[in-house]
């Protein structure tokens, strides 16, 4: 079998860590974004703290789901992806909205 199912005793851990991965990823990204908007470094610090918790969840999740072989790639993907994504989304937000801040009178109805 290509997978080894979660053990009965680990059901809760599997659900819980899975939910936390997505939730923490969002909190992490939000804190990161907020640190940029508000300019407060303490939010960035908090973001990293959350990311550390995220790493633990990925670890637990990978362990109880018996990831081995190429399934470990998924763990890696989550760790790197969720680490990098908030930065990328932030940059994307800033870059796409950039022109906005210089043209304050273009209306939404403007067609290109």
């Amino acid at each position: 079998m290509l997978i080894e199912p979660v053990a009965l005793s680990d059901f809760f851990l599997s659900f819980f860590s899975a939910a936390l991965i997505i939730l923490l990823a969002t909190v992490y990204a939000a804190l990161y974004a907020w640190s940029k908007i508000s300019g407060h470094r303490k939010f960035e610090f908090a973001a990293w703290l959350i990311y550390a918790a995220l790493l633990i969840c990925v670890g637990v999740f990978s362990y109880v789901n018996h990831f081995n072989d190429y399934w470990l790639l998924l763990s890696l993907l989550m760790v790197l992806g969720y680490g990098w994504m908030p930065r990328f989304i932030w940059k994307l937000c800033a870059a796409t909205h950039d022109a906005d801040t210089h043209h304050s009178h273009q209306s939404g109805d403007h067609h290109d």
Binding site: M1, E4, A95, T96, D98, A99, H103
Partner: protein, 201 residues
């Protein structure tokens, strides 16, 4: 002020192209995989047996090499005592499948785990120990389908299947369909299911 355009990687055209390529690529892959899957799940293919499998004894056992449960096909065990040709078997299963749809079974039961959750999964219904013994199973199933209210086994839940005006030929066809469905290789779902006749193995 001059129009300040965003960097390339954040530009509209870049993302438009990315969207097109990603969508196209995923779709092409899906189509290729679908061709392969169709080949593998056609009746008579490696994963979904031909309809004439209803002439055989079917069971479900733990496969040590694969580390999961797997349907097994054994000796001759014709359904209702009649050995059917491939065409006859297909016709019977087809009638069963059509009846399952027309009676809207899927809005109470799950089939292959999909459907509603008001009544038990039917994936391995043919193999369920609730039928008591292999010898009486076919007749019990038909009787149940013809009058589920009187033959109800609610296990104390009081939840009874309604009478769906199933005719005797339809009931036999449904049993054939269920028998055939139990032979599909579902990658080990359901796990831990002990089939009728496998209790002591």
């Amino acid at each position: 002020m001059t129009e300040q355009s965003p960097p390339r990687w954040a530009s509209e055209t870049f993302w438009k192209k990315t969207a097109i390529w990603v969508t196209g690529g995923s779709f092409v892959l899906l189509v290729i995989l679908s061709f392969d899957s169709m080949k593998q799940i056609s009746a008579g293919g490696p994963r979904v047996p031909a309809y004439s499998v209803i002439n055989k004894d079917i069971s479900y056992r733990f496969d040590k090499a694969k580390q999961r449960y797997q349907p097994t096909i054994g000796e001759d065990a014709p359904l209702f005592g009649k050995t059917l040709s491939e065409e006859e078997a297909e016709k019977l299963v087809d009638h069963g499948k059509k009846t399952v749809q027309a009676k809207n079974c899927m809005n109470c039961h799950t089939l292959l785990g999909n459907g509603a959750y008001y009544a038990p999964d039917l994936t391995k219904a043919w193999l369920d120990q609730g039928w008591g013994a292999k010898e009486s199973r076919e007749q019990m199933m038909v009787n149940f389908l013809l009058d589920p209210e009187k033959n109800a086994r609610t296990y104390g839940s009081n939840r009874k299947m309604p009478n769906l005006d199933i005719t005797p030929p339809e009931a036999e066809a449904i049993v054939a369909f269920l028998k055939w469905m139990s032979s599909i290789d579902t990658n080990g779902f359901p796990h831990n299911f002990i089939a009728l006749g496998e209790e002591d193995k």
